[in-house]
């Protein structure tokens, strides 16, 4: 994205506010809405990928060591990964404090 959303002037918008740059939604970091974040105990992770499959925001990524973890730039803290993890290695931690 050439410009941050809060810097775009009305004259710079395409007619109909059409977005002509495919995939630029990734530029917007939407993780700030989160009240809880998932924390993975990577030693316990069996690398099954269930969290990756279930994440509604497709924000679970595979770390270099092979376990899965959430990209906190996009994770909304819904907790589905923690709920679905078959070995219970994901815990939701409050973002407060």
């Amino acid at each position: 994205m050439a410009k941050a959303m809060d810097e775009i002037k009305w004259q710079e918008l395409e007619i109909g506010a059409v977005v002509t740059e495919p995939g630029n939604a990734a530029e917007y970091k939407t993780g700030s809405w989160r009240s809880e974040r998932p924390v993975v105990q990577k030693e316990q992770c069996i690398k099954c990928g269930v969290c990756w499959l279930f994440c509604p925001d497709m924000c679970i990524i595979r770390a270099v060591e092979g376990h899965f973890t959430a990209n906190l730039n996009y994770c909304k803290g819904c907790g589905i990964c923690a709920r679905e993890c078959p070995v219970g290695c994901i815990t939701m931690i409050s973002e407060e404090g």
């Binding site: 009305w10 004259q11 918008l13 007619i15 109909g16 506010a17 059409v18 977005v19 002509t20």
Partner: protein, 392 residues
């Protein structure tokens, strides 16, 4: 279809115009009193006279959704509805304008339920006044036919890219048989260039339409729309001017009749204008200095032209065809009062609401309204509105 003068039902003439405009997609759901327009178009497509996709949808919501989809790929698109149909499609109606998709609609104006009524007034169009469409009002069959060509020309102009609604009084116009002068297809081709859309949906060039807008950007998108609607004005004028040169039929955002030396003017929108002109003739013979001011272009509202037509008059008698419940007056009168507020030489404004749900407003009624309205204006009784002819 061939050119020349024909005796034809106005709905049929309108459908013929849509076919002559060589539309690509028609998506519509039949609803009285618009039905004849889309029925006739279905016939034309089925008979192979028009190479277009006719999509018989399951509801008006779907009709406008299909129209959005087809216009988004750059197809010339037409639909038509009335009243409850417009209410049902209203969600998408707003989106069509926001996404700047140049759909043309024939809106056969009809009252909203309840009580359920199939007859004419302007309550349906007033519901979507602020949707961001261009709204044109017409008075007779010839104007209905012509307005279709004007509307495609305006809507698809790269500097406009807005949907246009052609408003016509249900039954009073739609079901009337009138002489209509048809133009030939060559003239239409010359007048409406091929629709080339800058940002059309295409797999080779992916774009996103109707995206999510955060508070940081929403205000800018609305400013872009506001300027888009206002800037459509010179294109509309040019489209009408060129039409006038080609056909000899001239249209203006505000049209006047006997108003130059008039002390009082009747302000109308739609088919009321025809009766108003006859009554102005009658009253002139009785020595009353009465004229008529007709608003053809409702959005964008022609502020300058309207002021030019009425500033310096003693009074205006605005006849609305819809109520704004609990409001300061009918929708047209509210607009008129707002346009004149704090303007030097502003006439006083008296407002009548008449002709709801097809109740006949005869020449005699018009005469009563004008003479009574004049008295109200002279005595300073200009607040709110009067619901003409209501019993009780």
């Amino acid at each position: 279809m061939g050119s020349g003068r024909k005796g034809v039902e106005v709905s049929i003439a309108m459908a013929d115009a849509v076919a002559q405009a060589d539309v690509d997609v028609i998506a519509a759901y039949p609803i009285t009193p618009q039905t004849h327009i889309v029925e006739h178009l279905a016939d034309i497509v089925a008979d192979g006279e028009l190479d277009a996709e006719f999509v018989p949808v399951d509801s008006e919501h779907s009709a406008m959704s299909v129209c959005c989809g087809s216009a988004a790929v750059g197809a010339r698109t037409f639909t038509s509805t009335s009243s409850q149909g417009l209410a049902l499609m209203s969600e998408i109606f707003f989106i069509t304008a926001a996404m700047r998709l140049p759909v043309v609609m024939a809106l056969a104006n009809r009252s909203l339920s309840s009580p359920l009524s199939i007859w004419n007034d302007h309550s349906d169009v007033m519901m979507v006044r602020d949707a961001g469409w261009i709204h044109i009002f017409i008075e007779n069959g010839q104007e209905a036919y012509d307005a279709i060509f004007n509307s495609f020309r305006i809507a698809e102009d790269p500097d406009v890219m807005l949907p246009v609604a052609v408003n016509m009084d249900g039954f009073i116009l739609t079901h009337m048989i009138e002489p209509v002068e048809y133009v030939d297809n060559e003239l239409v081709k010359k007048y409406i260039p091929e629709f080339k859309m800058k940002n059309a949906l295409h797999p080779d060039c992916p774009i996103s339409m109707g995206c999510f807008g955060m508070p940081e950007i929403y205000t800018e998108t609305q400013m872009n729309r506001e300027v888009g609607v206002v800037n459509s004005y010179p294109v509309i004028i040019k489209a009408w001017e060129e039409w006038g040169q080609l056909t000899g039929r001239h249209y203006h955002p505000v049209e006047t009749y006997l108003s130059d030396d008039a002390e009082y003017c009747i302000v109308t929108m739609g088919s009321f204008g025809e009766t108003a002109m006859e009554v102005a003739d009658m009253l002139r013979e009785e020595g009353e200095k009465v004229g008529v001011v007709k608003i053809r272009l409702w959005r964008p509202f022609p502020l300058d032209e309207f002021r030019k037509a009425v500033l310096g008059k003693k009074g205006l008698i605005v006849i609305d065809r819809a109520i704004s419940f609990g409001g300061p007056g009918g929708p047209v009168a509210s607009e008129v009062r707002s346009a004149l507020y704090n303007k030097k030489g502003a006439p006083v404004v008296v407002n009548y609401v008449a002709g709801l749900a097809g109740r006949d407003v005869s020449r005699k009624d018009f005469r009563n309204i004008i003479l009574e309205g004049k008295k109200k204006a002279e005595s300073g009784d200009t607040e709110g509105f009067t619901l003409y002819g209501v019993r009780g």
